[in-house]
């Protein structure tokens, strides 16, 4: 009998091996698509067999089973595929260090020819070591749909060179996407994104990779306080800060400091570093009242300076800055900042929610209530809609007291 803890431990260790084994196969000259399929099959078999018969060398076991699958697949292939086999023996150039496995594969999965949803799914399978079933569960779609999405993505990659240095910015964006979609569901995608980002920071010196890791850690640290026992949203200013994960905050701050230490005249901090700095300021305040808003505003100034036309290119940053302006210069100044966004953001619930917050900050409760109600009508998640309806009802009730 193998108890649950051992089983879970095995799965974690197993998943960590996936990118290393896959990178090994691809470097040996195997086709990325075929190798990824073969390894997925080996992974499913391992999940079935290992609890009863743990292998002595798990990595070698996976590589052997995946290779056997590849050989089987090749044997049953037609002439069309035999032509592709010609390139089989060619070892592709690319990173050769073992530590670069995750990075190498992330670049494969985050190919710019793929749609973001496909990049995410493929990265979770090839680098995260998740099964198609687990990824489907995480995104609340049927397994067949996710399998189709993944195989379509892989068809897109077929025949493309995967040995080019990829665009790190795309990889970072994909990881952040994995993080932001990953707060619900059976599989902890947010934790997965953090794990992948940590691997990435070992493989590249780029400070933005560390900025992203820091941003995720500093936000993730507040997760335990974000919902109450009834699963209701608790906004930052009302969270029980005692529930925040101080270890994650400490790690986030350390990682951020090491990234910021590399800034120079020519290389100012990138957007993830700046966003992490803002998150760190919130995490650092013992209470909402003690938040150092002038510093938050200063970082937002840096954030909006990263794009030529922030209102159009980065409206989320302008909206975040408007909140900081409201806290530093007064609610009216903050509201004036949001006015600039009405054209691009006026139909988004967040724009109305921020205006509700600013009206409340300025003591105009009727205006706050109607802004929250406008936000609720535009909300795209039940939790947010319910939260905004509550905010509206609360503001109206306070106004009548």
């Amino acid at each position: 009998m193998i108890d649950e803890t051992t089983r879970r431990l095995d799965e974690g260790a197993l998943r960590a091996l996936v990118p290393r084994v896959l990178a090994g196969l691809v470097r040996r000259g195997e086709d990325f698509n075929a190798a990824e399929d073969a390894l997925q099959e080996a992974l499913l078999e391992a999940l079935r067999v290992w609890p009863e018969h743990p292998p002595r060398d798990p990595r070698a076991w996976l590589a052997t089973v995946a290779t056997r699958r590849l050989v089987d697949a090749r044997r049953s292939e037609t002439a069309r595929d035999r032509r592709e086999e010609a390139s089989y023996a060619e070892v592709r150039p690319g990173a050769t260090e073992e530590g670069d496995d995750a990075l190498f594969l992330l670049f494969c999965c985050c190919h710019p020819a793929l749609a973001p949803a496909s990049q995410v799914a493929l990265a979770l399978r090839a680098v995260g070591g998740l099964t198609t079933r687990e990824i489907a569960d995480a995104f609340y779609v049927p397994e067949a749909t996710m399998a189709q999405r993944i195989s379509r993505a892989k068809r897109t990659l077929q025949g493309r060179r995967l040995d080019q240095p990829g665009d790190l910015a795309v990889v970072l964006r994909v990881l952040y996407l994995v993080y932001t979609v990953g707060h619900a569901g059976r599989v902890d995608l947010a934790g997965e994104a953090i794990r992948l980002a940590r691997q990435l920071t070992l493989a590249t010196e780029e400070p933005e990779a560390r900025g992203l890791l820091a941003l995720m850690l500093l936000n993730h640290a507040r997760l335990p306080a974000r919902l109450d026992s009834e699963c209701r949203i608790v906004t930052l200013d009302r969270q029980d800060r005692g529930l925040w994960d101080t270890c994650e905050i400490a790690e986030g701050v350390r990682v951020l400091e090491s990234a910021l230490a590399e800034q120079t005249e020519e290389r100012p901090p990138g957007r993830y570093e700046v966003e992490a700095a803002i998150a760190a300021l919130h995490d650092d305040a013992a209470s909402a009242e003690e938040t150092h808003w002038p510093q938050v505003l200063a970082w937002y100034d840096d954030l909006v300076a990263l794009t030529d036309d922030p209102v159009r290119q980065d409206p989320g940053a302008v909206l975040g800055r408007a909140v900081a302006v409201g806290h530093v210069l007064g609610a009216d100044a903050g509201l004036r900042e949001t006015d600039r966004l009405s054209e691009v953001f006026g139909e988004r619930h967040r724009w109305h929610a921020v205006r509700g917050h600013l009206h409340e900050l300025g003591g105009d409760l009727p205006a706050a209530a109607s802004a929250y109600a406008d936000a609720a009508r535009r909300a795209t998640s039940v939790a947010e809609r319910d939260h905004l309806v509550r905010q509206a009802a609360r503001a109206r009730a306070t106004e009548h007291v």
Partner: protein
């Protein structure tokens, strides 16, 4: 066992039993009671083994149709966008009988409104066609 959709509407349907203001104008405790009741309905359905799915829809609607070859799709707000029927969400349930579906719909409709009084909201009950031909 037959499956039913219990549809809630933002607007449309028969004349309301009694008018009530939008929820953001209710007292906060009434809002809480209403939300707690809906959560309770989902839990109850799950406990009974009658639950399949529950979803909410945003009120934004776009009608769209094929625009013809090499033309963009044609979109519209529809006729009378302010008053036409608009679905807000649904429960999909798997129950023993049509009567049970009506019973559950009536229970949903008893959800508390302002002052804790039942809303008497009209629920649109629709049977889902099954894949298999019927046995009888």
């Amino acid at each position: 066992m037959p499956k039913y959709l219990l549809l809630k509407h933002y607007r449309g349907g028969p004349e309301p039993h009694h008018p009530f203001p939008p929820m953001d104008q209710w007292a906060p405790e009434d809002v809480e009671a209403h939300m707690a009741f809906l959560k309770h309905v989902s839990e109850l359905l799950e406990e009974n083994g009658e639950y399949i799915d529950a979803q909410a829809l945003t009120p934004a609607r776009t009608w769209v149709r094929y625009g013809g070859s090499e033309a963009d799709p044609v979109t519209s707000d529809g006729p009378l966008p302010e008053t036409s029927d608009l679905v807000a969400g649904w429960y999909m349930i798997d129950v023993d009988s049509h009567e049970r579906a009506l019973e559950l719909a009536a229970y949903v409709s008893s959800e508390p409104g302002p002052g804790g009084e039942p809303l008497y909201e009209w629920i649109d009950v629709r049977e889902v066609m099954s894949e298999a031909p019927s046995d009888d």
